[in-house]
Amino acid sequence: MQALKRGNSRLAVDTITVAVTAENALSLLAPYDIILDCTDNAPTRYLLSDTAVTLGKPLVSGAAQKYDGQLCTYNLGPDGPCYRCLFPSPPPRESMASCEETGVLGAVTGIIGNMQALEAIKIITGLHDGKPSLLLFSALGSPCFRSIKLRSRKPSCTACGSKAYDRSIMLGTDYIQFCGGVHPDWEQQGLTIGDASHRINVNDFKGILNSGRPINLLDVRPKTEFGICQLPSSINIPLKQFLMNPKEYLPSDPQIETYIVCRLGNDSQIAAETLRRVEGVGAVKDIIGGLKAWSRHVDTAFPIY
């Protein structure tokens, strides 16, 4: 906010530090002329779209993930489409990874954020042509930008269409359920203790490494992540490759124990479970909480990424 004030001392900035919900969205956003969606999850995107429709305000929506960005102004003018006109239902839960999981290039968010600001300025100053369009950005694409001509408002839309008489979609919607439920906390799930004969915590595992007895240590993360950091003597077999033929990665001596590690302790459980189903397999354990737990409890110099 101070940076904004330095740029223009006459700005009036209201800071509201509460989470937007179906209960408070209308009252929070009613005083403003334009809504900008800079959020990072599908439930909030649907909520903001429905709010914009109910309040009759334009919604400038920017999204970015990995190398891609999308920018669209919804509910603009008398017949601009809303988010639901274009995407009546959210992508399946399993295909929606968060930015934290897949990453996003900082420059991509910068480009989309700037374009979003520009779009808002055009609307405020009356320089916008009022035509609905969707801008797609792909850092790796050629060309990087493409502008798509969009349909007008969809008469059958459940939020803004002619059949949405009562405009009460917000009251009856559980946005999180609509988008497939709560986002799983992978770190927490990776830390579930589980069956003691199947899982081992990082401190006990450290003891095994220190004892110097031979073990078979498999790291099932993708190759790039293995390249960032790895435990000594670990062998990298990315999960996909591992699942195709798990037997191949068993030690020749069945007395040697197999330990499996990954980043947070989820993929390693899948790998260990698969391996245990192989006939004649010796002891197989996965490391609880993965390398993140290792870094937290055993070796604080080990990189967290």
């Binding site: 990072d40 970015a64 891609d68 999308q70 996003v104």
Partner: protein
């Protein structure tokens, strides 16, 4: 038999269903079965035919290029509702949706909504 060449692109995460390749260049027959199945041979099509349209293309992609998880791409004989289809940079709804007849050189984009920020 005559065929046409088109460009098919996947974006917004959909490329993950298609061997993680965003861009696919396809050559497909210009006359296709009306029930949208991919004929075994281009020469002999049994039963009724139609000019190749976007609905056929969707079935063709499912049967020939889709690597996993059909339900993430199709529902009720069309793309699932969360997928937007663009025909030469225009929302397919303005072009007749699935009934749009493909022409040589057309650029068809399948895009899923991004929600990250």
């Amino acid at each position: 038999m005559a065929s046409i060449s088109i460009k098919v692109e996947f974006s917004g995460g959909l490329e993950l269903l298609f061997s993680n390749e965003r861009l696919h260049r396809l050559t497909i027959a210009s006359i296709v079965p009306i029930d949208n199945h991919t004929p075994k041979s281009e020469e002999i099509i049994e039963g009724e035919t139609k000019l190749v349209d976007v609905t056929f293309l969707i079935h063709y992609l499912r049967d020939n290029l889709l690597k996993e998880r059909v339900e993430l791409f199709m529902e009720n004989n069309t793309v699932r509702p969360g997928i937007l289809v663009l025909i030469n940079d225009t929302d397919w709804e303005l072009e007749g949706e699935g009934e749009y007849v493909l022409k040589d050189g057309d650029d068809i984009v399948f895009i899923s909504t991004l929600h990250g920020g």
